[in-house]
C-alpha cells in the first residue's frame, strides 16, 4: 500500500514529494534555527530598544545624537550588508581574531547572525517605539501630572504601557520582517529554513522542491504570528475600539475570514 502510494506520487506529482518527505526532518531543523534566530534577536533587540526609544523621545542632544546615528546606520543599510560586515568583515582583521571574543562568538556564524539581527531590529523598534511614545495623548500625561506622579513614574505607569499597546500593530510587521530577514543567515553557512532549501537544491539540483517547501513553512509561521498578534491586539487595544466592535461584528461568508 505504502509503496504504491510512493510509486503513484513519483509518477504523477509535478514535484518530487517523496524527496521532500525523506528530508522533512532537515526542514524542521531548519525552521527551528530560523525561529531561534528570529525570536532571540527580537527579544534582545526589543530590550535594547526600550531605553533607546526613551532617549530618542527626549530632548537631550548628547544622548539623542548617538542613538539617532545608530538607528540611521542600521535602518539605512541592508541587513545583508550588516551581516557580511560582521561575519566576513570583522574576521579579516588579525587583531579581532586575537581578542577573547573571537573563538566563542565572532568566529561562529550563528552568533554573527544574531548580533546583526538584534542590532537591526533594535534600530527599527527604537524608532517605532519613539513614534508611539511621542504621540501619547497629552491628556493622559496631564492627568498623571495632576495626580502628582513624578517624571519616571509617569513613564513607567502611563506613557510606556500606553505606547507599547499602540505600537503593537506596527510591531507585528517588524516581527514578520525580521522573520523574512533571517534568510540572510543562509548566506553565511547557517542551515536555516532557506539554507535547507538551498542544500536540497545543491544536492539534487531541484530548485522548486527545496524552495517551495521552505516557502510553505514560512507561510505557516507568518500565519501563526499574525494570528497571535491579532489576539493580543484584541486584548490590549480593546479600549481603543468602539464599544460594540469586538463582540458584535457580524461574521458571514468571506468577511469573517481574517488572519
Amino acid at each position: 500500500m505504502g509503496e504504491s502510494i510512493i510509486a503513484f506520487l513519483e509518477t504523477w506529482s509535478p514535484i518530487d514529494i517523496v524527496l521532500i518527505a525523506q528530508n522533512f526532518d532537515r526542514f524542521l531543523w531548519g525552521a527551528l534555527v530560523t525561529l531561534q534566530l528570529t525570536v532571540i534577536s527580537l527579544v534582545v533587540g526589543g530590550l535594547l530598544s526600550i531605553p533607546l526609544a526613551i532617549i530618542r523621545s527626549g530632548n537631550n542632544p548628547f544622548l539623542n545624537a548617538p542613538v539617532w546615528a545608530f538607528t540611521y546606520l542600521f535602518r539605512g543599510t541592508p541587513l545583508l550588508v550588516q551581516t557580511y560586515l560582521i561575519y566576513y568583515g570583522l574576521g579579516q582583521f588579525e587583531w579581532v581574531r586575537q581578542t577573547a571574543l573571537w573563538e566563542p562568538i565572532l568566529s561562529q556564524a550563528w552568533w554573527c547572525a544574531l548580533i546583526a539581527f538584534s542590532l537591526n531590529t533594535a534600530a527599527y523598534t527604537t524608532e517605532l517605539l519613539r513614534g508611539s511614545i511621542i504621540t501619547t495623548s497629552k491628556g493622559e500625561v496631564e492627568a498623571a501630572k495632576a495626580c502628582g506622579l513624578g517624571k519616571w513614574m509617569r513613564f513607567r505607569r502611563i506613557v510606556l504601557p500606553s505606547a507599547f499597546r499602540r505600537a503593537l500593530p506596527a510591531y507585528s510587521n517588524e516581527v514578520i520582517f525580521m522573520l523574512h530577514g533571517s534568510v540572510v543567515a543562509s548566506t553565511i553557512t547557517i542551515q536555516d529554513l532557506l539554507g535547507v532549501g538551498r542544500w536540497l537544491n545543491g544536492r539534487y539540483y531541484l530548485a522548486y522542491e527545496g524552495f517551495i517547501t521552505a516557502a510553505v513553512m514560512y507561510l505557516i509561521i507568518v500565519l501563526l504570528v499574525s494570528r497571535g498578534f491579532r489576539l493580543w491586539e484584541k486584548h490590549w487595544l480593546k479600549h481603543l475600539y468602539p464599544l460594540d466592535a469586538v463582540e458584535a461584528r457580524p461574521k458571514k461568508g468571506l468577511a469573517s475570514f481574517r488572519v
Binding site: 574576521g91 568566529s107 553557512t189 542544500w199 537544491n201 545543491g202 544536492r203 539540483y205 531541484l206 530548485a207
Partner: protein, 258 residues
C-alpha cells in the same frame, strides 16, 4: 477601440520578441561562474578570465557562433540553464549521474582530482575517525558535497555559496579543512598569500558515483544536436593544439587527464 489598441500593442510586442529570438539564435549563450580561479574569475574591470572562459571562446570559434558569456552563481546554474537563461554551461561542471537526471553533458574537457586542504602541521588525518566532528567547508551543490555526505557522514559540513568564501573562512580558522578540486585549491588559495600556511592533506579523493569522469559542458536534456557539435569542437581543439595552448597558460601539466 481599446481592445484594438491592446491587440496592436501585443502584436508589436510579439514581433519584438520574435526578432529578439532570431538574433539570439546566432549567438551561443554560455553560463559561466566567475568566482572559481583559475578556471574562471572576474577582473576588477568586470571582464571574465580563466581556463573555462578561454575554452568557451575556443568552442564558440569552432561552432562559428558568437559567445555571450552570462554570469551565474553556482547553485543556480542548472535551474538557469533549464529556464533558458543560457544554452550551455561551461563552468567546470563534473559529469555525474545525479546531474544527468536533469541535464545532458558533452564528453569531459578536463579531469583533475579532489583534495582536502588544511593548515600546515594540523595533523588532520583523512579517515572516518580522523574527520569525525571536524568542520569541513565546501561549495554547496558540487560533487564534493555528494562525496563528503556519502563517505564521511560524521563530518560537520559547512556549505558555502562560492569557493572564494570557503578559502576565506579556512584562512581565518572558521573551518578545520576544506574539500575541493585540487587545481582550484592550488591556484585559487595555496599559491596566494592567504594560503601560504596551508597544504594539501590526505592525497587524491575519488568516488566514481559522485565525482564522475570529469568536467563536461552542460546542455539541456534532448539538446543532442548542440551536444554533438560541442563534442566535435572539443575533439578539434584537442587535435589542433588550441586546447594545449590554453592549458599551458594556466597549468604546468595536461589537465585533460587519462
Amino acid at each position: 477601440m481599446k481592445f484594438k489598441k491592446l491587440a496592436t500593442t501585443l502584436g508589436a510586442f510579439a514581433l519584438m520578441l520574435g526578432l529578439a529570438g532570431n538574433s539570439l539564435a546566432a549567438d551561443l549563450r554560455v553560463g559561466v561562474e566567475g568566482a572559481y580561479p583559475p578556471f574562471s574569475w572576474k577582473e576588477s574591470d568586470g571582464t571574465l578570465k580563466g581556463f573555462d572562459i578561454e575554452i568557451a571562446e575556443a568552442i564558440c570559434t569552432e561552432l562559428k557562433r558568437k559567445c555571450v558569456l552570462i554570469e551565474q552563481d553556482w547553485d543556480g546554474m542548472i535551474p538557469a540553464l533549464l529556464a533558458r537563461k543560457f544554452d550551455v554551461i561551461i563552468a567546470s561542471m563534473s559529469i555525474t549521474e545525479e546531474r544527468k537526471k536533469r541535464v545532458d553533458f558533452s564528453d569531459k574537457y578536463y579531469n583533475t582530482p579532489a583534495k582536502f586542504v588544511a593548515k600546515k602541521g594540523s595533523g588532520l588525518v583523512i579517515s572516518k575517525a580522523g574527520l569525525k566532528g571536524k568542520r569541513v567547508g565546501l561549495q554547496r551543490g558540487t560533487t564534493h558535497q555528494c562525496f563528503m555526505e556519502k563517505m564521511y557522514p560524521d563530518v560537520e559540513l559547512v556549505l558555502y555559496g562560492g569557493q572564494d568564501e570557503v578559502f576565506q573562512d579556512l584562512a581565518i580558522g572558521r573551518i578545520d579543512a576544506q574539500f575541493s578540486d585540487s587545481i582550484a585549491a592550488d591556484e585559487g588559495f595555496l599559491k596566494t598569500d592567504a594560503g601560504k600556511d596551508f597544504e594539501f592533506t590526505g592525497g587524491d579523493q575519488h568516488d566514481e558515483a559522485c565525482h564522475g569522469p570529469g568536467a563536461g559542458i552542460t546542455v539541456r536534456k534532448g539538446d543532442s544536436a548542440l551536444r554533438d557539435q560541442v563534442n566535435a569542437a572539443i575533439k578539434t581543439i584537442r587535435d589542433n593544439g588550441v586546447y594545449q595552448k590554453i592549458n599551458a597558460k594556466y597549468f604546468e601539466f595536461d589537465i585533460f587527464g587519462g
